[in-house]
Symmetry: C2
Subunit: 313 residues, 2 copies
């Protein structure tokens, strides 16, 4: 997906143009768009993804918006998915103002329960859809795909050729032979594996988190978003948890201005269920210790942003 | 090298900034720099590469020059190389005005005769040097390297990460294992093979070209640059040669404004000596036929640029 974001940004953005993003969103996308001197216009999320009322207000107030960048399915970092009705409402708003929708969909194949929802691209052929084999075969391959409107194909090929000519053929062959008669079964097995890890994480959080801590309940993908009480700093919590052998990404990393501090992202894809159970115990203890110290110290909740609280999905 | 040009352009250029190029030069570089809305400032070449007197005048007249892009060794498309004295003069001029020199060196390992000349990077640690395995292992691998000043490393890594994260590990391993105990011998064998093809091409040209046609005599690389009499159009010649089974790149493709028409590039890397001998016969016949028709028709040599004539090296 990363090169798809890069090429789209290169073709669409002049310095000062605006990109609508979900808040919070994928750090790598922020980094790539920033390389084209884009201005970020964040839209807050709730348990159903990007909030359409906020999107509508945002679109009305800025005439340099060129792209709506969204991860509608098992979002990174929150794990939240956008239901069908909201997808349709987003596309209607984008069409009305001829704004390009870029749908980043690295996790769509990794659904563990609930009903599948069509990707935005299936609802509107003007959508630029980005897919990847990084989550289903191997991230080291750097192979993904784009589904784009016909008039966007030639400019994209030209931009790609100027960037690095083309993919490695060795890798393309590897992906091809992995896909034929193997990939579907592999993904089904991966779903079973990751479902167990997600369930272990949700069970571990329920058993070990102190009151005032909330988290998302993703139907797929790799991530759970955890919110601590307002005024907490997960940047401050991180080294304490790391001392206990538990690593997370502080939520501030997923905000363009890094100004929301009381959330964190957990990833369950690479750890065993046993390690996840143990990890939630240690994380719970670290959060308890941190919160009890914080309560004793002075915090200024009024200076904190409200954006991090994604209610449970 | 292509991604190296891309990343350097991304970090160094704002729209309207100028890039000094050799005229003619590598089409792909023109395309990549153009993607960053660079302005091209061409410097003419002679049998020793970029002309330093012209470079000096050009530098004096433009304060938005950010990069000097050069292929000093077995240049694409002319096959010409820059001797040591001229390399030193170029670097002195660049240093005096703090302009970045980008040395594209895809062919440096493929010298067939003559004395090796140090790359620009060996003479000045401020040079950005681009190398590739495309000419020595396989173009389908898309693996190259950059040698850059230390302060340029971190920005390049960040730009690379935003573009496509990193190289495929599978491919990197392939390159690594090809390099260990194999590549040096392979390159030596390739030199012998390509030397024979170059010699076949030079012999074929000497035997078959009509008067008024001149060509470069490269000591390495893949290309010979052929100039026809002023007023000729190798764009018009191309379909006639193609009818005879001979393909070349018209010289105009290597000029940013495509306004020089009486030269063409021959590549000898992929054809056998026998095919090259036959090809020069057919090309000679096609050129003779074209020139005799042209002499009968009206040409306007005064409208043609003089830049294509690279005297024999």
């Amino acid at each position: 997906s990363t090169q798809g974001i890069e090429l789209t940004a290169k073709l669409m953005l002049d310095p000062g143009d605006a990109v609508i993003i979900e808040e919070p969103t994928f750090v790598g996308a922020l980094q790539t768009f920033a390389g084209y001197e884009a201005r970020f216009v964040p839209v807050p999320m709730d348990a159903e993804g990007m909030r359409i009322d906020a999107l509508e207000r945002t679109l009305a107030g800025d005439d340099r918006i060129k792209i709506i960048y969204t991860i509608p399915t098992f979002q990174n970092p929150t794990g939240v998915s956008m239901p069908l009705a909201r997808r349709e409402a987003l596309l209607k708003l984008a069409r009305a103002q001829s704004i390009m929708v870029v749908e980043d969909d690295p996790y769509g194949d990794l659904r563990y329960d609930g009903e599948p929802v069509p990707p935005l691209r299936a609802l509107d052929p003007a959508v630029v859809h980005l897919g990847t084999f990084s989550k289903t075969i191997a991230p080291a391959l750097r192979v993904g795909w784009m589904v784009v409107p016909p008039e966007f194909v030639q400019p994209l090929i030209a931009a790609r050729e100027a960037a690095d000519i083309h993919n490695e053929r060795l890798t393309m062959r590897t992906v091809y032979h992995t896909a034929v008669d193997f990939l579907d079964g592999h993904v089904a097995a991966a779903r079973t594996l990751y479902r167990g890890r997600r369930d272990a994480l949700l069970a571990g959080l329920a058993a070990n988190m102190p009151p005032g801590v909330h988290w998302s309940r993703p139907e797929g993908g790799f991530f759970v978003w955890v919110t601590l009480p307002e005024g907490s700093s997960t940047n401050a919590l991180m080294p304490r948890a790391a001392d206990q052998g538990v690593i997370f990404f502080p939520g501030s990393w997923f905000y363009p201005n890094q100004d929301v501090h009381h959330a964190l992202r957990l990833s369950f894809s690479t750890q065993t269920e046993e390690a996840i159970a143990e990890g939630t115990k240690r994380l719970g203890a670290a959060i308890r210790a941190y919160l009890s110290e914080e309560t004793a110290a002075t915090v200024e909740p009024s200076t904190m942003r409200q954006g991090a609280a994604i209610p449970a999905g």
